[in-house]
């Protein structure tokens, strides 16, 4: 056992394995850094960085490939002595088949191919269901029942109420969700609600009411394993996220910080005077307030994912929910 018999770690100096030292990568790195800084500062810096990276990248590649491009072709090994071409249809090895004898496919070759082929097939048959089991469950049967969060009279007009409920009561507290619900009164005899998700659209932390939750007036309603708690608030001036400082106004529009769009909203319906929460949808922004608000809505996207503008093109397909 002599580990150095093949490779001498210090005999490699000056061999073609080692590229010639070059300073172009430094310029290339500066170019890349300019692109990243420019993404924050200004497009002009991005352009400058791109030009730098392109120039120095070209010079670097030119330097690195110099050896290959100028290598004299005389060093090419002499072509191997070519064996006389084997006539088509004849095996290269083994005795010539006699007259009337069939040319047989070698048994060893068949067994080799059969072993590899069967082994591969068994591998696929075993792996495919396991991979599917790992990857598919998150994308199927993800829907849930509509959630009854109480009678519409429980929601005073023009005040936000913090409603928490269990998305899937059978899973317990881990499925507890929070909605900020404001009764906007009636618009043409139809009750209007603003129902915001509490998940920050930066990276999914829970946003809090910038106001006073009135914990003494909290009410908990229990039915069918569902526990809905309603906490009224006073003087809610918007919402703020404790994680990275994202701020939203009372309509859920982003006013400051890193969020990329307005807060997600709930679809809702009113059945027999009860307010039912449905699925979530995403919102780029909201014009106007309350019952007259114009909501620019999109299919639900994850936190941090743009739904409009050029960055929205980065998320063309959303998984089924």
């Amino acid at each position: 056992m002599n580990p150095r018999r093949d490779v001498d770690p210090h005999g490699g100096h000056g061999t073609p394995h080692e590229p010639t030292p070059t300073i172009w990568p430094v310029g290339f790195a500066i170019g890349i850094a300019c692109i990243f800084i420019g993404l924050i500062l200004s497009p002009i810096v991005v352009a400058v960085g791109a030009v730098l990276a392109a120039i120095f990248g070209f010079l670097w590649i030119r330097d690195v490939t110099k050896g290959i491009r100028t290598e004299p072709s005389a060093e090419e090994p002499a072509p191997e002595p070519v064996a006389p071409p084997i006539p088509a249809g004849k095996r290269p090895e083994g005795p010539e088949p006699g007259e009337g004898e069939l040319i047989r496919y070698p048994r060893s070759k068949f067994l080799e191919a059969a072993t590899l082929g069967l082994g591969g097939l068994i591998g696929v048959v075993v792996t495919a269901p396991v991979l599917g089991f790992t990857i598919l469950p998150p994308f199927v049967k993800q829907g849930h029942e509509k959630v009854d969060v109480g009678a519409i009279e429980d929601y005073p007009e023009n005040r936000y109420v913090i409603a928490t409920y269990l998305l899937r009561p059978e899973e317990g507290e881990v499925s507890r969700r929070t909605a900020y619900i404001r009764n906007n009164g009636f618009l043409d005899d139809v009750p209007s609600f603003t129902i915001l998700s509490n998940r920050c659209v930066h990276l999914g932390c829970p946003v809090q009411v910038n106001g006073l939750p009135i914990d003494e007036d909290a009410k908990t309603e229990v039915n069918d394993g569902q526990r809905v708690t309603r906490i009224p608030t006073a003087a809610a001036a918007g919402f703020g996220c404790p994680c990275h400082g994202g701020q939203y106004d009372t309509e859920g529009n982003r006013t400051a910080g890193p969020p990329v769009r307005a807060l997600d909203r709930y679809e809702f319906e009113i059945v027999n005077g009860r307010l039912l929460l449905g699925d979530l949808y995403s919102v780029s922004e909201v014009d106007g307030t309350g019952a007259e608000a114009q909501i620019h809505s999109y299919p639900l996207a994850g936190p941090g994912q743009h739904v409009d503008g050029p960055e929205g093109l980065l998320y063309p397909v959303q998984p089924p929910r």
Partner: protein, 269 residues
């Protein structure tokens, strides 16, 4: 007579004591190469450059940290319950009730940081010494994979205490992955095992943290070490006496049991 007999007896005794090793070596060696015992002997007593320093011990230190993580992790797994209703309580039980539980959990919790820090220090040493160059590029690549898997271990392990910090830090971490273009919206649910973090997420993270990733890490570390032994340790860049330079004088005699197993009982008497 008695004087001459004594060393013989001692050697016979030694032979009897070491017989299991000889047995093992004889049955694991390939002709012309050593077996398990010779291999371990070679690994432990192989030649390294004369002017290596404490910097060269960082790799072994990181390896030791990995072993500490593996051992303490296995023991924590005996008491931990990856279930949303009992995970936090089982961690509290480990920390507060079980004898020395606080110590083992502390070793695992702080050892995680130690492991990552040592990986970076080791990486810095290799970079500054130019030890990533030919013929060691592949070992650098494997090392980077080890670093990536090590950090994934940290990410998946962070959820397991199942407290508020763990939960929301994981929410942020998963959503960060999910902002990746094109595949991001699919990556998030795959990581979580659903559209939101729930009971499936905890079990999934636990499995990745204590089965999938440690297995991959152990394999990569084995490969990493094998390559270290195969190409040898680098001398520092300022070394006047590079490794691999033949020594003046006659070559030293081969170490017994290093090249091929001797016939049984061939020890010099």
């Amino acid at each position: 007579m008695a004087n001459k007999k004594k060393p013989g007896l001692l050697h016979k005794l030694l032979d009897i004591l070491l017989y299991p090793l000889t047995w093992l070596e004889e049955r694991t060696s390939i002709p012309g190469h050593s077996g398990i015992v010779g291999g371990i002997k070679y690994f432990l007593f192989r030649k390294v450059p004369g002017d290596i320093s404490w910097g060269h011990t960082l790799g072994s230190a990181a390896f030791t940290a990995f072993i500490v993580q593996a051992v303490t992790g296995v023991i924590l797994a005996m008491y931990y319950q990856p279930d949303p209703d009992s995970a936090y309580e089982s961690i509290r039980h480990i920390t507060d009730d079980l004898t020395l539980g606080w110590l083992v959990r502390g070793m695992h919790r702080w050892g995680a940081s130690v492991f990552i820090i040592l990986l970076f220090l080791h990486m810095g040493r290799v970079f500054l010494y130019g030890a990533y160059k030919y013929p060691r590029e592949l070992n650098w690549i494997i090392g980077v994979l080890i670093l990536v898997l090590g950090m994934m271990e940290g990410f998946f392990g962070y959820l397991l205490p199942w407290d508020q910090t763990a939960y929301w830090a994981t929410v942020v971490g998963v959503n960060l992955q999910a902002t990746g273009p094109f595949v991001g919206p699919f990556l998030g649910p795959i990581l979580q095992g659903g559209t939101e973090i729930g009971s499936d997420t905890l079990a999934r993270f636990y499995s990745l943290h204590m089965l999938v990733l440690p297995g991959a890490l152990a394999g990569l570390i084995g490969l990493h070490l094998w390559l270290v032994v195969r190409v040898g340790v680098t001398s520092p860049p300022w070394s006047a006496d590079p490794a691999g330079k033949p020594r003046p004088g006659p070559p030293p005699p081969p170490r017994a049991g290093l090249v091929a197993p001797g016939p049984r009982g061939a020890r010099k008497r």
